[in-house]
């Protein structure tokens, strides 16, 4: 028979009611509700009865709870007094408890702020949820692992607006990084980035202007808008509106821009960032670009829909549009860009939703460990309050009053911890911000949502941590507690406490395993032979239009004694050219893509790359200026048999035919996230000069000054910049590095909290067993025997935790390592190391107290009651 057909209200609800009400009162209300339920059931059936019951209970239970708590106004003063006294009396215990909570809460709040910030990216625009960006799917054109490209032809935006009535505005953006500003006063060129946009940009996006007219500011060519910060940076306190700035663009020409407006600083949580904003028409004019064709993909297109738009319908229409124009365009909501956008040629490097998940998990786990700590410690500590509880009950307190008192105490302690952690968060926030490179603000005063969330956090933490101890304590029986020796250790309580310790340590051990694994992977990346030499190498970008002077400049540089070698080639990690390949003997029609590096004759020697077959480029062979050298992967993937001597060619642009003269060993010209792709080397003019500095050059500054002077000599009016190749390579993994550092810190915190809890438990246990220890010693037990006895149970828990955590940790780490095409070996050593680490730390925490107890004088422990 179905349970619901019995005329009884749901047992869960009735049980809750019973728990909330004081015992004498209980039955009347509960029975009254039951009577009403039965009537409803008889009159209108079980569904209606259940419905009625749920509706009523949903109102009744909160009202009863509130009434309960406001009812004890009289006792409140007493509870508060007792709470204070207890904190003072048990300073050590209270300190440990509060410290654990503070650490947990601070960590949680910091991560919470971070996640909130990341999720808020780009949402400050008024129409944020109606703005999408349009990108291209260039099938087969894989670059850095994806064939989705964030570039579109300039004609796309106006066409979409015209053809689709559901689109209100469309905007094109292009970020030009090649411009150099030439100030009026001193003529040192400084590199600037200019964002070019359609005039509707100021309409679609919420970037307010402080001075100037937003309607006309972007319509004139050569008009420039500048942010507040940039204005101060370049002009100090002087007025910048109306000034003329000369900018030398990438093609070497000078253009005069006029500042027509000042914009408010761009908020940190925007994927669109700029110092200078100009009209896109200017760009078209400068670059002599025809914006009315489908050739040339370089602009970023954003569209905004009408209020009641239908995405699915639009996407269908877009597909028809795609077939018509012969391209594949797709749309993505703007708000998803920061965490989900991983296209090629993003405006700025974005973050990833993965980090949000990982850090949410960390936040929850750390807070959980802290709450479990509190739970454990207070339950163990309850043995100190047994007499108080017993006495209260004798005098007339009922169970719910006791619960109220102790729940209130945990609220009180949690509130103290909470206030301290708010203070800590405020103090640590600048450091945190600097490290994760964000600008998170902790504005408690003006953010209602934040205040509410924090209050919720406080309440939930206090409840999780304090409920069980409160219920546990309220179950003490007066008679038993007032007897001489009451050990508050029911079998059930002990198992619960043990399993909590195990849970805490499982979480901690998994975090340790993860930390070690990540560290190993980072080390692996750093040490893995990339296949080329990258130490002591400097890369200097050269101005394109002076290519005839490059060789001379190179020779001048090598004349310096500390510069050992120089080459005019692409740097090994900066290979951008990507084209389809053809070779003698290619049988099928499938497009095979290959990367191409434009190199100098000495490229292979300069970077110490191994040659497997054939030979290197040589100036003595006249035909070498059309020859190709391929890497192993190219030969292998393309299946070219006997490649040396075969004709090879890259299809588009300067795809001259040449013979393959050599095969080089694979080297990593992309980050280790990606598999090595096919690569061809060809003698072509490159715009980067790489210099190898002698390792004994301790006065790098002088050398660089020498080069800088030469640079200025050869390329007047251009900015001298240089980077170190090894730093560039490090930078590819900067996100991982930062992420792993943060993770390490949090793991350390987790270990600390867990051990804090363990320490408190040990203290408590020893205190309870003082007499037992004394008697054992009197009867002849050795110090080591007693110590071991005391540590035994804790050791057992830690070992169980290890057994659970190791397979869990292994599984999680396997998943993470799948992100990398090249992985470090994670052997049993890692797990053994973390197990030993945890056991060792736990032992240390426990042994100090245990040994002290074991060496105590039994006379003292047996003397007093």
């Amino acid at each position: 028979m179905k349970r619901k057909n019995k005329a009884r209200p749901p047992r869960v609800g009735q049980w809750i009611l019973k728990k909330i009400l004081p015992s004498e009162e209980r039955q009347y209300l509960v029975e009254g509700i039951e009577e009403r339920y039965v009537r409803e059931f008889k009159d209108r059936g079980w569904i209606s009865a259940l419905f009625w019951y749920l509706k009523d209970i949903l109102c009744t239970i909160p009202l009863l709870i509130i009434d309960n708590f406001t009812g004890s106004g009289i006792m409140f003063k007493n509870y508060l007094k007792i709470a204070f006294r207890n904190i003072k009396k048990y300073k050590g215990y209270s300190f440990i408890n509060i410290a654990g909570l503070v650490i947990g809460l601070t960590a949680f709040i910091l991560i919470f702020l971070y996640i909130r910030y990341e999720l808020s990216y780009d949402r400050f625009h008024k129409n944020a949820d109606r703005i999408y960006r349009v990108y291209m799917h260039q099938k087969g054109n894989l670059w850095h692992g994806t064939d989705l490209w964030n570039v579109t032809p300039p004609i796309l935006a106006p066409t979409l607006k015209n053809d689709f009535p559901e689109i209100v505005t469309s905007v094109r953006l292009y970020k030009d990084r090649s411009g150099k500003i030439i100030n009026i006063e001193d003529n040192t060129p400084r590199r600037v980035q200019i964002l070019y946009a359609d005039p509707e940009f100021l309409e679609m996006f919420n970037f307010p202007m402080i001075k100037g007219n937003s309607e006309t500011a972007l319509s004139d060519p050569y008009s420039l808008l500048i942010t507040e910060k940039a204005s101060v940076k370049y002009f100090g306190n002087e007025k910048s509106i109306g000034r003329i700035i000369n900018i030398k663009s990438g093609n070497g020409q000078n253009y005069s821009y006029k500042i027509t407006g000042i914009m408010k600083d761009i908020p940190g949580n925007s994927h669109i960032n700029f110092e200078f904003l100009s009209s896109i028409q200017t760009l078209f004019t400068i670059g002599n670009i025809d914006p009315f064709t489908y050739r040339g993909n370089f602009t970023k297109t954003y569209i905004q829909f009408h209020a009641n738009y239908d995405v699915k319908a639009f996407e269908k229409k877009l597909q028809e549009f795609n077939t018509r124009v012969g391209r594949v365009f797709r749309i993505q909501p703007m708000t998803e860009i920061h965490l989900y956008g991983n296209l090629n040629v993003e405006l700025e490097s974005n973050s990833d939703i993965k980090y949000i998940y990982i850090f949410s998990a960390i936040a929850v786990f750390i807070l959980l460990i802290a709450c479990l700590n509190y739970l454990n410690l207070s339950t163990a500590h309850a043995s100190k309050r047994t007499r108080e509880v017993g006495l209260r009950k004798v005098i007339g307190a009922d169970k719910s009053s006791i619960i109220k008192q102790f729940l209130g105490e945990s609220f009180f302690l949690t509130a103290i911890a909470f206030l301290i952690s708010i203070f800590l968060v405020k103090t640590l926030l600048p450091v945190f911000n600097a490290f994760i490179e964000r600008k998170i603000s902790f504005g408690i005063h003006n953010d209602l949502n934040l205040i509410l969330s924090l209050i919720l956090l406080l309440v939930v933490t206090a409840l999780i941590a304090g409920s069980y101890p409160a219920f546990y304590v309220s179950s003490f029986q007066p008679v038993k507690t007032l007897k001489e020796y009451y050990r508050s250790g029911s079998k059930r309580g002990l198992t619960l406490r043990n399993s909590l310790v195990v849970i805490q340590f499982v979480i901690t051990i998994v975090m340790i395993i993860s930390t070690i694994t990540v560290f190993r992977q980072m080390q692996f990346i750093r040490n893995k032979k990339l296949g080329f030499e990258y130490g002591h190498i400097i890369n200097i970008p050269l101005a394109r239009n002076f290519s005839d002077k490059f060789d001379e400049f190179k020779n001048e540089c090598t004349s310096h004694s500390y510069i050992t070698e120089a080459t005019l080639s692409n740097t090994p990690i900066n290979v951008k050219d990507y084209d389809s390949a053809e070779w003698e003997g290619k049988e099928d029609e499938t497009t095979r893509m290959i990367y191409k590096a434009s190199v100098d004759y000495n490229f292979i020697d300069f970077y110490n790359i191994d040659i497997i077959e054939g030979r290197k480029f040589s100036r003595n062979m006249a035909t070498d200026n059309t020859a190709y050298i391929l890497n192993e992967t190219a030969v292998r993937d393309f299946g070219i048999k006997n490649p040396i001597g075969k004709i090879f060619r890259m299809k588009s642009r300067q795809g001259t035919k040449g013979t393959i003269i050599g095969i080089i060993k694979d080297f990593h010209f992309h980050s280790l996230h990606l598999k090595i792709a096919p690569l061809a080397l060809k003698i072509e003019p490159a715009h980067t000069l790489s210099l190898k500095i002698h390792p004994k050059d301790f006065n790098l500054q002088d050398t660089m000054t020498f080069i800088e002077n030469k640079y200025k000599q050869f390329f007047p009016g251009h900015v001298f910049e240089y980077t170190f190749l090894d730093e560039n390579i490090e930078r590819m993994y900067i996100q991982e590095k930062k992420g792993s550092q943060i993770f390490n810190n949090f793991t350390f915190l987790a270990i600390f909290i867990a051990c804090l809890g363990l320490y408190g438990l040990v203290l408590n246990m020893i205190e309870q067993r003082t007499k037992e220890i004394g008697i054992r010693k009197v009867l002849g037990a050795s110090v080591s025997g007693v110590s071991f006895l005391l540590m035994k149970s804790f050791l057992r828990q830690v070992i169980i935790a290890n057994l659970i955590a190791i397979p869990l940790g292994w599984f999680i780490m396997q998943r993470w390592l799948e992100n990398f095409a090249y992985r470090a070996q994670i052997g049993p050593l890692v797990f053994a190391a973390s197990a030993f680490l945890v056991v060792g730390i736990a032992l240390l925490t426990v042994s100090y107290r245990a040994i002290r107890a074991a060496t105590a004088n039994p006379v003292d422990s047996l003397r007093y009651e």
Binding site: Q27, Y28, L29, E31, G32, I33, E35, R36, K55, D56, C59, T60, I61, P62, L63, L64, D67
Partner: protein
């Protein structure tokens, strides 16, 4: 004399009406019938407790009844103070509403 909320006032009046039969379920039924609004048990229970605290109500346990499988029900009765409080309210109300009809008609005419 505390000022009573509308709900508390209605509860007292209902209990007076119910005479000997004023226990929680019957009070709730009557109130709902009169006001046409649903009242949760919790709200009623809390109100009754408050009224007892103020001294306007007193409670007692009745005889065991067969309806509830033999257990007793809790009955509520007005106290002298409760009656006085209601009388006060009635007096105030009489004063306020004294010439309502005539004044209302006058207002409509202008």
């Amino acid at each position: 004399m505390r000022a009573l909320t509308k709900l508390e006032e209605n509860v007292l009046l209902t209990i007076l009406k119910l005479k000997d039969d004023a226990y929680i379920v019957s009070i709730k039924d009557q109130l709902e019938r009169f006001t046409d609004k649903n009242l949760s048990f919790g709200a009623l229970y809390v109100s009754l407790n408050r009224l007892i605290k103020y001294g306007y109500l007193e409670s007692g346990v009745g005889e065991s009844s067969s309806v509830r499988g033999g257990r007793a029900k809790k009955y509520y009765r007005l106290t002298k103070d409760g009656i006085s409080a209601l009388k006060n309210i009635r007096r105030l109300q009489r004063l306020m509403w004294e010439d309502f009809d005539s004044r209302a008609d006058e207002w409509i005419k202008t």
